[in-house]
């Protein structure tokens, strides 16, 4: 019997991929494999090439520098309509770190210069002068499953949601979109989060939820056994312990 195959487009790894985000691809591949599902990954490095939405189930965009996010957004504007339609149709984009600005309506730099994003998520991104790095813990509904998400954030932008936009999660500890309760943006099935680095390794249940959603989208029913994530869980517990100790000080 042929193995079930999920296809992931790893978008612009050599342009972005700033903070160990490639770990997320390892997580998708290895956790899918543990379910007996093959995860095929293609690197797509040029924003000048039209994206083939029929060919992929997941589009992953790693965290990048705002300068290159703006340059990439400028190139992608030519296909913003098709990207928007794909997101509306339920395609799964996972975008981490500052790269979430790609989907913004407007990107405003610290020097007040303004650039157009793809205008998909109903939010603006405003660069701040200083860097803010910290742990980030939030709760999020990932395709019907409420999960605590643990990671790190190197905040270079504030994300300002419009009334219609929906946050991905609620901040428990950390900066989030703008030192408030909201973390990230959820647009259809697309997850945009300020968390960067190996988010999907540190939060394997999120990865499982994404894989299950893809299988559901493909109308594939597989008996997915529970996987032991004891090291991942211990990692999160230790980090929460560290955060509690920080708060108590």
């Amino acid at each position: 019997m042929d193995r079930t195959v999920i296809k992931t487009a790893f978008l612009y790894p050599d342009i972005f991929c700033l903070n160990g985000d490639r770990g997320n691809i390892s997580a998708l591949v290895q956790i899918a494999n543990r379910f007996g599902v093959a995860m095929e990954v293609d690197r797509i490095n040029s924003p000048d090439i039209p994206l083939n939405f029929d060919a992929y189930d997941i589009f992953y965009i790693p965290s990048g520098e705002l300068k290159y996010v703006i340059m990439t957004a400028e190139a992608l504007l030519r296909q913003s309509y098709t990207i928007k339609k794909a997101v509306e149709a339920g395609k799964i984009f996972i975008i981490t770190g500052t790269s979430i600005a790609l989907f913004a309506d407007n990107i405003i730099r610290a020097d007040k210069s303004e650039y157009k994003g793809l205008d998909i998520g109903g939010f603006d991104c405003i660069e701040h002068e200083n860097v803010f790095g910290d742990d980030l813990v939030f709760s999020a509904n990932v395709f019907g499953q409420y999960l605590p998400i643990t990671g790190c954030q190197i905040s270079m932008i504030d994300t300002i949601l419009t009334k219609e936009a929906k946050a991905f999660g609620k901040v428990i500890y950390g900066y989030g979109n703008k030192k408030g309760n909201d973390e990230g943006v959820l647009v259809g099935n697309s997850i945009l989060t300020n968390t960067l680095g190996p988010l999907l390794i540190k939060n394997p249940e999120m990865t499982v939820a994404i894989i299950k959603k893809v299988l559901k989208n493909k109308n594939i029913e597989l008996p997915l056994n529970n996987i032991n994530f004891d090291i991942e869980n211990n990692s999160a517990k230790k980090i929460w312990e560290f955060i509690e100790q920080k708060i108590s000080k």
Binding site: N19, G20, D21, R22, A27, E65, V131, D134, K202
Partner: protein, 455 residues
């Protein structure tokens, strides 16, 4: 008059701090005096800006500064440098306080200053160095530096057409500054037996700083540094840089620049760019290439070597890394991987305690390639630290290492670590952790040996 009083006061602080806490003597006096007078460093006399060299960039600036100082000193030049690594404004102030007369006169001819890349804009208005070396601009200390472009923007505030810029011909972000001045000296390193290419699914290079598209490397000498070109906008390494290290022989430790043979003080690829940069500056300052080459045999890099300690039968080799810096971490991992004999690899990444808020970043480990290490005969991996040991272990697990080959120690107790090492039947140990942790390990071993001798 005010300056003379400030300087007198500063010299008293230097004197006192050297008695009370010499470790703080490289920057503390300068920090105090800068608070009193922000323009203090600009008031010293007899500094010829044409003979001031600033060395900045992410990696290699300490080594390059040390080597350049060594070259000039050995050639009889009267030179000062901030060799102890205090590279912010307070460190520069302290160096000048220590090396000046009571009148504020500095009698040295050459000034070689390592400058923190975020501090250049605070220093340059007072000391307008003619020569600026930019080693490379890479990912580093993200909580401070954000991303490389953040540093490029900081440096761009200062770099101007009056400067002679020494740019790394094979590091795109360093070379990106070439339009800022007409006086550019490029330094580079030719392809060697250890050059490589990145072709794997998860290999990451970098964007072109000019057009933002993917840059191509003809070869890499170290991570993201090698002969490059951008297929989209044609930004590329110069074909013939002013100083090019070529005919590199790591076996015998030799290379050539303009047909002049040089001995390698350290025969590892990441040192080559420091050699090239230092030679480029020394040549432009008028030193002869044969005299420069002659100094290489006696160069010892401060704090740049593998340090070995003995614990019972175990030989523990410690390699220092800069925290949150994937390039130095990668170089350390490659050094471990170069030893093909059976080994235990001990990794003690810690939470980042730089300034508030402290946090648990270990993601820079995912920017490093572990393939060579994994294939270098590692018998066991030990991950230790109070809060991020499981996180560290995950890096290995998602690299394909068997869970059973990893020992996880959620502790900062060095005795527990040494006990774990002791129980494994292998005496060849490599340790990568923060310097502070290593010093605690050394202290424990020293104390234990002392106690066993007393018995």
């Amino acid at each position: 008059m005010r300056f003379k009083i400030e300087l007198f006061f500063a010299k008293i602080i230097v004197f006192l701090i050297n008695i009370i806490n010499p470790k703080k003597g490289t920057s503390f006096p300068g920090r105090i005096i800068n608070k009193i007078d922000n323009a203090f460093i600009g008031k010293f006399k007899s500094i010829d800006f044409n003979k001031v060299v600033f060395v900045t960039g992410t990696n290699g600036k300490s080594t390059l500064t040390n080597l350049l100082y060594h070259i000039l000193k050995k050639n009889g030049a009267n030179v000062i440098a901030n060799l102890e690594g205090a590279n912010q404004k307070c460190g520069i102030a302290t160096t000048l306080i220590k090396n000046s007369t009571l009148n504020g006169k500095v009698k040295h001819e050459y000034f070689i200053f390592e400058i923190d890349e975020r501090s250049l804009y605070q220093i340059y208005p007072y000391i307008k160095a003619k020569h600026l070396v930019i080693t490379n601009i890479q990912k580093d200390q993200v909580q401070r530096n954000g991303d490389p472009d953040y540093i490029i923007r900081k440096l761009s505030q200062v770099i101007n057409a009056d400067m002679i810029l020494y740019l790394n011909n094979e590091e795109p972000r360093s070379k990106f500054f070439e339009n800022k001045s007409e006086n550019i000296i490029y330094f580079g390193v030719d392809k060697s037996s250890l050059s490589y290419q990145k072709t794997g699914l998860l290999d990451i290079t970098m964007p072109c700083p000019v057009c933002g598209r993917k840059i191509e490397f003809n070869y890499l000498n170290i991570d993201n540094i090698g002969n490059f070109y951008c297929p989209t906008c044609n930004f590329a390494s110069e074909k013939t840089p002013d100083v090019l290290i070529s005919d590199i022989d790591f076996e015998i430790g030799r290379f050539y620049i303009n047909n002049q043979s040089f001995e390698m003080p350290y025969n590892v690829p990441f040192m080559l760019y420091n050699y090239a940069g230092a030679v480029a500056v020394a040549l432009n300052l008028g030193f002869k290439i044969e005299n420069i080459a002659a100094t290489f045999t006696s160069f010892i890099n401060i704090g740049g070597r593998i340090e070995s300690i003995r614990y019972h039968k175990k030989d523990i080799k410690y390699i220092r890394i800069k925290q949150e810096n994937p390039e130095t971490f990668q170089s350390a991992l490659d050094s471990v991987a170069n030893d093909a004999t059976e080994k235990i690899f001990v990794l003690g990444l810690n939470e980042i305690i730089d300034f508030d808020p402290h946090y648990t970043n270990t993601f820079y480990a995912y920017d490093c390639n572990l393939t060579k290490l994994v294939n270098s005969n590692v018998k066991k991996y030990i991950c230790f630290s109070q809060y991020v040991c499981y996180d560290t272990a995950l890096r290995f697990i998602y690299e394909g290492i068997d869970r059973d080959d990893i020992i996880i120690l959620p502790t900062k107790d060095v005795k527990a670590l040494l006990d774990a090492i002791e129980q494994i039947d292998c005496n060849n140990i490599y340790l990568i952790t923060w310097l502070k942790t290593f010093n605690q390990i050394k202290e424990y071993i020293k104390e234990e040996s002392k106690q066993s001798l007393e018995k």
